[in-house]
Structure formats: structure tokens, C-alpha cells
């Protein structure tokens, strides 16, 4: 991987992803499961769990990079807009730093929804084993 190299991957928050997240982690907060509750707080429908995006990020790191010998060292994410069921988000990740001495790479990443709006951004540092 080269400095400033950019990778992209596209994901959809399908019913399977949404229900799988809830069944796995049991986060049944009404914002995520009760449309009437979500509407009380100005949302048009239930909001997808923010950490679903981290699941997509995990897939990107583990499956989409050219090397498979990777491990996540750290990550941060900031959320800007809600993501809803069946939204398609595009992850763009740029190699922002390469720490050759310890085989570590820092990506700056951003998720945009199908309307092109930024829904989240952050940084993830990985190591090459």
C-alpha cells in the first residue's frame, strides 16, 4: 500500500445486517427498533446502529485490502447523519500515514450515503503481521 492510496467499498444496510446486529448484540434501544419513538425525536424511521458502520469497516480491513495479514490497532469514528434501513453507504479510505518501522498504516476513512452525504468519518490504524 502506498501513501495517499485510496480504497473504496460499498455496503448496504440490509434487513439481514440490521437484524443480525440486534440478534448478536441485543441493542434494542427504541431509537433503533421503534418507529414511533424515533419519530418523536425527529427521525423519519428507526435509525440504524452506528456500529453497523464499524462492522462494514471491519469487513473492509479484513477482506477488501490487498493483504490479509492485517490486524486493527485502533480506530475512531465520528457520526454526522443517521443511516436508515436499506441505505447504501460508500466507504472511502485513504492511506494517511505509513509507519514502516512497526508495519503500521493509518487510514482516514469516510462513509457517504447514496445521496453523497457524509454520514461518518474517522481513522483506523492497522498493522501488517
Amino acid at each position: 500500500m502506498l501513501l495517499h492510496q485510496i480504497f473504496t467499498a460499498t455496503y448496504t444496510v440490509t434487513e439481514q445486517v440490521y437484524k443480525g446486529f440486534i440478534s448478536t448484540f441485543a441493542d434494542n434501544n427504541p431509537l433503533h427498533t421503534d418507529a414511533a419513538f424515533a419519530k418523536q425525536y425527529g427521525m423519519p424511521q428507526v435509525v440504524m446502529h452506528g456500529n453497523i458502520l464499524n462492522g462494514f469497516l471491519s469487513h473492509f480491513i479484513g477482506e477488501e485490502l490487498p493483504q490479509k495479514n492485517v490486524i486493527i490497532h485502533s480506530q475512531t469514528i465520528n457520526y454526522y447523519l443517521p443511516v436508515f434501513l436499506n441505505d447504501t453507504v460508500t466507504l472511502q479510505a485513504e492511506v494517511a500515514e505509513i509507519h514502516q518501522a512497526v508495519h503500521a498504516i493509518l487510514f482516514k476513512f469516510m462513509f457517504r450515503n447514496q445521496a453523497g452525504k457524509r454520514v461518518a468519518k474517522g481513522m483506523v490504524q492497522i498493522g501488517l503481521l
Binding site: H73, H99, Q100, A101, V102, A104, G127
Partner: protein, 80 residues
């Protein structure tokens, strides 16, 4: 930046990364002396030091430093 200033800042980085406020680095300190200094912490320490001082090391440099004191000298040389 003086060698002492470098050591003080490196110590602050060690305390932050290891989450151990009792760490007092000496020139002779090695990973054997700090319980939290394992392989993954080592990577985080090097990355944090590179970012903080805006320097970069090679694997050979990192592997060649026998202790914290030698690393701090290495940082000082890169800042010259």
C-alpha cells in the same frame, strides 16, 4: 529541544499509551522493565513517538535501540 525535554515528552507518551502513571523512564529502561510494554503497545509507542516528534524510524533503527536512552538520542539526532 534538549535531551531532557525529549525524555520528558517520551515519558509522557509512555504514561499515556501504557495507562500507567507511575512509569519513570531511565536511560537503561527496556521493555523488560515495564509490564505493559508488550508487542502491540510497542507499536503504539513507536507510532505515537513518530507523530509527536514528526520523525520516522526504520525497523533497523527501532530494533537497534538497546534502551529508552538510545531511542531518545536517536530522536534528538533526527530533530537536528
Amino acid at each position: 529541544m534538549t535531551q531532557q525535554e525529549i525524555k520528558d515528552q517520551v515519558q509522557a507518551i509512555f504514561i499515556d499509551i501504557t495507562d500507567n502513571p507511575t512509569i519513570v523512564l531511565q536511560d537503561a529502561t527496556t521493555s523488560d522493565d515495564i509490564e505493559e510494554w508488550d508487542s502491540l503497545t510497542h507499536i503504539q509507542l513507536v507510532v505515537a513517538i513518530e507523530k509527536h516528534f514528526n520523525v520516522s524510524f526504520t525497523a533497523e533503527e527501532i530494533g537497534g535501540y538497546a534502551n529508552v536512552g538510545e531511542m531518545c538520542v536517536g530522536i534528538e539526532q533526527k530533530l537536528m
